[in-house]
């Protein structure tokens, strides 16, 4: 059964509140900072988006890679978040947490509301991007840019062919001359018309000298240029071209950019002498104006840009789709996170309330919650705290009442133990009965006096006192009425184990609240010693009066009888003999009466014992010495312990006790048998036990108690005062005397004296 003491003591518990750093979801500043960072990253990505088309490596190796990694990361994050929440939801459902269902529903609803439109937008948007990208590369546009590039390229090729043709023609013309030994003026005369007719803008002629080893060495012989040719052209490029051609390279032409956007289209041809040997190199250059070169370059750039877009179509499409997918995944992750966030915002206070309620249910009534918001949840938390405070106050009042009850219970218990101790220790027997006359308690004295078991609760009193020797008491109780409680105590005599037990029985009625009878209380005292003392006192008074009334006339009777004897000494013999015989009889009986009166006097005037420490063995041995040689057929055996301490007794009275008991034993054995005088020391009980046992015929059980009454004797002779005197001496020494049967036969007197 649960008692107040079983309730765990209240311990101070802090209010449930978030400790330490606030979680990310509860920190608006952090959330705003993350959103800002994401927006900045998106802005940076968009700012760099212009460089994608010009940097395919950046596009494929960085942008596409980063977007793919971002997509993969977000897919993993989404899968992780969803899987974690699904597992968490399953675990919480298994635990029976009521919040799990609501949270899963909220997250599922938000995710479902976002997933369908997001996927639709992703599919439609992807298809839109794909179709738009395809539309970039339509046939007319491709044809236009290809034609433009072809026009520019053809123009370059044509000018290059013209220049190469001029260089070849000049090479043949110079080869027909004695070159390189010829006159430079003659060489100039050969090339001057070509320049003058604007076929080329410049012609440079080199002489080739061959060393024994190493590459051929070229040196300029003459050069002729139109006056309109910009002066900033690089002569070294023509030298290198001449060197390459002299070395046998087939790379005999190429453009050379000039300042201002113009270009020189160079073409080189080897000059071979008549014998076929390499004599020199002629380099012809045609000048393209900056405007023409730039226009051609722009057309080619447009063509190349278009083709590069075409080549990078898939990576570009991948970038757009990856970006689109990333945005979709961000929306899904955000929706999931938002669902979790909202669920946490809603369910966390409920969970805190549930946890606090469980804590209060566990006895922690000082549990409080700190309101985090001022909305309905805040009001709920306030109401919860108020309820907890009231519960705590009620608990404190209850505990105070419990402590008061406990204290009263302890007082009642102490009183009960006190009364129980009294009942256990007093010599007055107490039996309490309930309203149905069933035994509630039987104290130790009652159990001892009545010879019943103390633990008889619930037993009808009729059964408790069902033994025949207890019948007078049972009748008294059964015949009592509620009004008899006020009557004085009544005496009841019981014969228990051959002893007469006189009880003074009083009864009281137990009343409960309202005066209802709850039972009865039976109180009885053993007044046997009192009755016995009253009898002894009465007998002593009788003895004293007898001794006084009888002893006074005895002397005149004896004197008169002796006078009659003397008076009739002179009478005739028959008369004299008759008188003498009668007077002897009278004197003898008078003497006998005197002895009897003396015993009465001694019984009536027995002095108080003068107790002194006495060694019992010598005293008893000395006493028994009186019997030495008196009875031939009687054996007196003594059993004295070696370590018997001195006992405070009156030696003379103890001697008389022993003589009386031994005399009675010898008489009972008809002066033939064995008498044992034994002394025992019961150190634990602090008594010295004196035992006188004989092997005579024994005493019937019904007569044993009467032995100690004055003037009761089973002998033919005697006053019947011996054992009465013995009991009185023992009683005045604070001891007890008991007579029992001796095994295997005879009588056994046991005297217990305080050691």
């Amino acid at each position: 059964m649960l008692t107040l003491r079983d309730v765990p003591p209240p311990t101070r518990r802090p209010a449930v509140r978030p400790r330490g750093r606030r979680p990310f979801r509860d920190n608006p500043l952090q959330i705003l900072a993350v959103i800002g960072l994401l927006a900045a990253a998106l802005g940076v990505a968009l700012a760099f988006s212009g460089s994608w088309r010009y940097s395919p490596d950046f596009l494929t190796e960085f942008v596409l890679y980063a977007l793919s990694v971002a997509d993969l990361t977000m897919i993993l994050a989404l899968v992780f978040v969803l899987a974690r929440n699904i597992i968490k939801m399953m675990v919480e459902r298994r635990r029976g947490l009521p919040i799990a269902r609501f949270r899963s529903k909220l997250v599922g609803a938000l995710l479902g509301m976002t997933l369908v439109p997001a996927v639709l937008v992703l599919l439609v948007g992807s298809e839109l991007i794909r179709s738009n990208v395809d539309r970039w590369f339509n046939a007319p546009m491709e044809e236009i840019v290809a034609s433009a590039n072809r026009m520019a390229s053809d123009y370059y090729s044509e000018r290059q062919l013209l220049t190469s043709g001029t260089a070849a023609r000049l090479s043949r013309a110079l080869g027909a001359m004695p070159f390189p030994e010829g006159d430079p003026v003659a060489v100039r005369d050969v090339i001057q018309p070509e320049v003058a007719q604007q076929r080329v803008s410049m012609v440079e002629v080199y002489r080739v000298a061959r060393g024994r080893s190493g590459p051929p060495v070229v040196s300029s012989v003459v050069d002729v240029a139109v006056p309109s040719l910009p002066r900033e052209y690089n002569r070294a490029s023509a030298d290198r071209l001449a060197e390459r051609v002299a070395a046998g390279s087939r790379e005999a032409h190429g453009p050379e950019p000039l300042g201002g956007g113009g270009q020189l289209l160079r073409a080189a041809e080897p000059i071979r002498a008549r014998d076929g040997t390499l004599a020199g190199v002629v380099v012809a250059s045609d000048f393209l104006t900056g405007e023409m070169a730039a226009r051609s370059r722009r057309m080619t750039d447009a063509y190349e840009a278009y083709n590069q877009l075409k080549v990078l179509r898939n990576p570009l499409l991948g970038v757009y789709l990856s970006f689109f997918l990333m945005v979709t995944l961000m929306i899904l992750v955000s929706a999931t996170w938002m669902g979790l966030y909202l669920a946490a915002r809603i369910t966390r206070p409920v969970q805190r309330l549930a946890a606090a309620a469980r804590a209060i249910g566990a006895g922690h009534l000082d549990q409080r919650l700190e309101p985090e918001t001022s909305d309905e949840f805040g009001s709920l938390v306030e109401a919860f705290n108020t309820m907890a405070a009231e519960l705590s106050a009620s608990r404190q009042n209850l505990e105070r009442s419990a402590r008061t009850l406990e204290r009263q219970h302890q007082e009642v218990e102490a009183r009960r133990r006190y009364i129980q101790t009294i009942l256990d220790r007093i010599t007055t027997g107490v039996i309490s009965l309930d309203a149905d006359d069933r035994v509630s308690t039987v104290n130790t004295a009652a159990a001892r006096l009545l010879g019943v078991e103390g633990d008889q609760a619930g037993l009808p009193v009729g059964e408790l006192l069902g033994r025949p020797d207890l019948e007078p008491l049972a009748k008294l109780i059964a015949g009592a009425r509620p009004g008899d409680a006020d009557k004085p105590a009544q005496e009841v005599s019981l014969a228990r184990e051959g002893r007469e037990l006189d009880l003074a029985v009083a009864m009281a009625t137990l009343h409960g609240q309202g005066g209802a009878i709850e039972g009865r209380l039976i109180v009885f005292d053993d007044i046997t010693p009192l009755i016995r003392a009253q009898k002894v006192a009465a007998w002593r008074e009788v003895a004293r009066r007898l001794a006084h009334e009888i002893k006074n006339p005895l002397t005149p009777i004896q004197l008169c009888a002796e006078r009659l004897a003397r008076h009739f000494q002179g009478a005739p013999p028959p008369t004299r003999e008759l008188v003498a015989e009668c007077t002897r009889t009278i004197v003898g009986e008078v003497e006998s009466l005197k002895g009897l009166v003396d015993e009465f006097s001694q019984f009536a005037r027995m002095p108080a014992p003068r107790r002194i420490p006495t060694a019992l063995p010598p005293l008893l041995a000395d006493t028994l010495g009186l019997y030495v040689g008196l009875f031939r057929d009687v054996t007196i055996e003594t059993r004295f312990p070696a370590d018997l301490p001195p006992v405070r007794v009156d030696p003379e009275q103890i001697r008389r006790v022993v003589i009386n008991l031994v005399d009675n034993a010898i008489e009972a054995m008809d002066r033939r048998g064995r008498v044992v005088l034994e002394v025992q020391h019961a150190a634990a009980e602090r008594i010295v036990r004196l035992i006188v046992a004989d092997n005579g015929p024994g005493i019937p059980e019904g007569e044993r108690e009467k032995l100690f009454l004055p003037y009761y004797s089973t002998k033919r002779r005697g006053s019947g005062l011996g054992l009465a005197i013995v009991r009185r001496i023992v009683a005045e020494h604070g001891g007890t005397i008991e007579v029992t049967s001796n095994a295997p036969r005879g009588t056994r007197f046991t005297i217990d004296l305080p050691a």
Partner: protein, 199 residues
């Protein structure tokens, strides 16, 4: 049975990863072998140099040709590694070299500008209009003195591994798979280096 087959496949994969090239050329001073079908590699120790030749068949793919024609600079990078096989473990790399070949086509002049670098050192650039020369320039390398035989220990087994990949990466799907490099790998057969000028 399934578990035993899986263990056997795993053991074969581990041994294959550790052993590197085929072992047919053990004790040969030189030879040629192919890892991927398209990349053939041969090595030759001569005059204190380990000369490496390799060719990438079908290296000039249609996509790469389109990229070149669009004017994008195209580069094929070859990572050449001299490796020493190790039993039951990954082979160790003794030395490595990076060879790049780049071509850029000018649609205006219809000329290809060719350039090569070996470990960052550039060679003389060239200009050509011949597409076959462009193909050879990008995919064929003959007896490049990439390693010094002083790095080799006599009587030890070595082999040469070449990995090639082209940029820009214009082939493949819409999404970039970071673990797929899209390159090709070739191996020269193992050889035992016997000492200086023995080959």
């Amino acid at each position: 049975m399934i578990r035993r087959a899986l263990l056997a496949a795993l053991a074969a994969a581990v041994l294959g990863a550790c052993s590197g090239p085929p072992i047919g050329g053990v004790y040969a001073l030189s030879g040629a072998a192919a890892g991927d079908e398209g990349l053939r590699v041969a090595s030759l120790a001569k005059d204190g140099q380990l000369l490496v030749s390799f060719s990438l068949a079908d290296g000039l793919t249609r996509e790469l040709r389109q990229a070149i024609d669009s004017g994008l600079p195209a580069t094929i990078t070859y990572v050449v590694e001299l490796r020493r096989p190790t039993a039951l473990w990954f082979d160790g790399t003794v030395a490595s070299a990076t060879v790049t070949a780049t071509v850029r086509f000018d649609n205006l002049t219809r000329q290809h500008q060719l350039s090569r670098t070996i470990d960052g050192r550039g060679e003389e650039p060239r200009v050509t209009e011949d597409e076959e020369e462009v193909r050879r320039w990008l995919t064929e390398f003959d007896r490049l003195p990439l390693f010094n035989t002083a790095q080799l220990e006599p009587n030890m087994v070595y082999y040469v591994k070449v990995r090639a990949h082209a940029r820009p990466r214009v082939s493949g799907g819409l999404f970039f798979w970071p673990w797929g490099r899209g390159g090709k790998t070739g191996f020269a057969p193992r050889f035992t280096y016997l000492g200086d000028d023995r080959g």
